[in-house]
Amino acid sequence: MTAIGKPLDRVDGLLKVTGQARYAGEFPEERLLHGSVVSSTVAKGRVLRIDASRALALPGVVAVIDHLNRPRIASYDDAFQDDDAADGSPFRPLYNDRVLYSGQPLALVIADNLELARHAGSLVEIEYATEAFETDLLAMQEQAYASPQTPPKPRGNFQAEWSGAAVSLDLHYSTPVEHHNPMEPHASTVLYQPDGTLHIHDKTQGPQNCQAYVQKVFGLDKSQVRIFAAFVGGAFGSGLRPQYQLPLAVMASLALKRSVRVTLTRQQMFTFGYRPRTLQRLQMGAAADGRLLALGHTAIGQTSRFEDFSEHVVEWSGMLYHCDNVQLTYNLVPLDVFTPLDMRAPGAALGVIGLECAMDELACALGIDPVQLRLINYAERNQNEDKPWSSKALRECYSEGAERFGWSQRNPEPRSMRDGRQLIGWGMAGGVWEAMQMKASAKARIDGQGKLTVSSATTDIGTGTYTVMTQIAAQASGVAVEDVVFVLGDSSLPTAPLQGGSFTVSSVGTAVQQACEALTGKLLAIARQTYPVFTQAESVRFEDGQLHTGDVSVSLAQLVKDSGEDALEVQVDSEPGKKREGYSTATHSAVFVEVQVDEDLGTIKVSRVVSAIAAGRVVNPKMARSQILGGVVWGIGMALHEETQTDHQLGRFMNHSLAEYHIPVNADIGEIDVVFVEEHDEIVNALGSKGVGEIGIVGVAAAVANAIYHATGKRVREFPITLDKVL
């Protein structure tokens, strides 16, 4: 019996389909107080006066907290710096009278119930001294400076090779601000304990990150703060940093010595981190036979005035293809906005749009098939790091994806395919994402009934952590899946990294595997002490909740009893394997897309997608497929729908609702075929598994754009590609 590789249903599925799964803002308590955040209506300036008298006059309004009456908080930056902090000086909620961006929290109204808190919040009057502000990246791009996170150094002689190439292209692309918009709004419920400690249910991708933040910001002991996140209603990066509802709820709880919940409104979900707008320039030079001679990628991203948010936008252009003359540049422009934040495949989802659209344009300029052009320039090593790949089945992604899609039937001529009024276009793109591994710890405990409990302070933001960790534990211990419980979402559990970057299976999964293996070592030692047959046994195996040698078996439950203990327990700390050091590790993809563009109306429908993925060993094909489906949907959103629009006269986002910030709906999503190609990897980690949370989105938007070009003959380089741009 092998648990890994099985399409097990989600172990938390029953709780989710019956409404029993509780999320951060859903923990009731007698006399729970409710907070409502009052947000700045101006983009920059100072608060002159906050008049809360009308709010406080309402019966049931308990307090209004602002920068003048808040509890004491830390006064140095390091207290506010969390595990995903950008370089700079982190935002401090209700710290002083300065307004740094529109939508900034300026006061928290606390009342007996939610409706009263909301109403009272609307009665708080704030007087400002406004100052001039700037929110337009396009207008300010001349002020760009080099990001503190510098891309790889230039190699070869880009300029000379580019200008001397048989074909040279110079292309500009832009991508808009996008917001994560998980379905669950950010919320924190602070349950004030009789001993004054805080139990906090928070929407986060890192319970220990939030624990450390609260502890440092409020000068508390670690033992005074415990963070829970058993269920997280999506995050996609929005939970990587503690969001402001957490410190606000803690302020209220400490000030009033009461339990307090603060849930953001959907509108307030647009008042913290987001995917930054970028301006990108791709310069490609190629020989007539398709060989890339020069590749230049410059990206300008927006950031805030107080932090330099950096992500890997241009690195991918130095690693996805073989090219000896490469120049990568990444600059930032500070604006009067909040700091951007990692959002699903941060950097890659943006940079690969530029790279893969430009590759398509190059293929057209050369008259070479887009897949063929990629094969001609296939990278056998990661030239950014000058290392070989631990594994790379991208060729198989191209070939299996193309086969499933029927790519060989494609007529390369734009506007050559149609179905009535619908212009049909076929486009493709490649994708890449790092396969990282972090330090992580896990505890494994088996009791006298043979039930195995494994725990680590990670989260399950919908990715399937509960399920895949259960499978890894079952496989490593020989305990049946039904007898394994995986516990997460509690800062008091063994250390886990943030859940992000597609490294949870790699990091926490490895720790779980090692903890279970260590536990079997303990069990075997007991068997050797207790049963002569095991003392001499050369080969043993753990399977079906039993230890076997030859024809002899003993149950693990019996071994626990034999030990004289109630349960046996092991905790391990795992680290990335030494083998990784000599290699580059990455997931890859090839995405094939069919679009239908209405010739008269310009409406665009993605009717068909094939996503071929190379991500090592797949722990649970059902869950992994869902991750890729989600990534593809996100990529379609990036290509066609998503854009947070700013009114630069007011310095604020205009479409801050789910009616006006468009994400794909059911009718927008056609057929999606996910293929996991075989990829064997003994270097990336002992599981051979690379993680699939990000790779599904990378390349999709470019493939859609390339398909739209093929359908219409029109290159749209400004994302999203809305109908007005194709008409």
Partner: protein
């Protein structure tokens, strides 16, 4: 009576008594005139399965069944439900026996984070009651009031199709 312009309460707010059937149980409840059905469920009755994703009728996470028809609980005042028969996600299963739609959602992995899921399932049950969806395109169109940020749409479709076709 709402608050006076200076913010002070002019007089005690008058609550209204309503009777309804909630997940098969007769309930008599006192509700304030501005309380939405969603806040009644979540804040007063601790039925948090109905989710608040936007509070504006834009996301569908709060979808419940009133007299078998799917509605957005966030756009429905509780006082409007006097005499209604309401079913929320907590009332769909028959004891330990899941509703076929719940079973199909698990089988097809029609959710990830689970936050839109109660609304999706209630909406899908409402859709089945309407009898209007006869093919995939109609299911897609008629389920487009329920957003899923995790992007489980194709699995949601597969789950609904299986139930509508009566396949196991």
């Amino acid at each position: 009576m709402s608050a006076t312009p200076n913010g002070a309460a002019a007089q005690p707010f008058v609550s209204h008594s309503i009777r309804l059937s909630l997940n098969g149980q007769d309930r008599q409840l006192d509700v304030l005139p501005w309380t939405t059905l969603l806040d009644l469920l979540r804040e007063q009755l601790d039925l948090v399965g109905s989710k608040k994703g936007c509070d504006h009728g834009q996301c569908g996470a709060c979808t419940v069944l009133r007299d078998g028809k799917r509605i957005n609980a966030c756009l429905t005042l509780a006082v409007m439900c006097d005499g209604a028969e309401l079913t929320t996600i907590e009332g769909l299963a028959d004891g330990d026996q899941l509703h076929p739609m719940q079973q199909a959602f698990i089988k097809h992995d029609a959710f990830q984070c689970g936050y839109c899921t109660p609304g999706q399932i209630c909406s899908a049950v409402g859709l089945a009651n309407e009898g209007r969806a006869h093919d995939t395109a109609q299911i897609q169109e008629l389920m487009s009031g329920n957003l899923c940020r995790c992007g489980a749409y194709s699995n949601i479709r597969a789950a609904i199709e299986e139930v509508l076709e009566g396949k196991p």
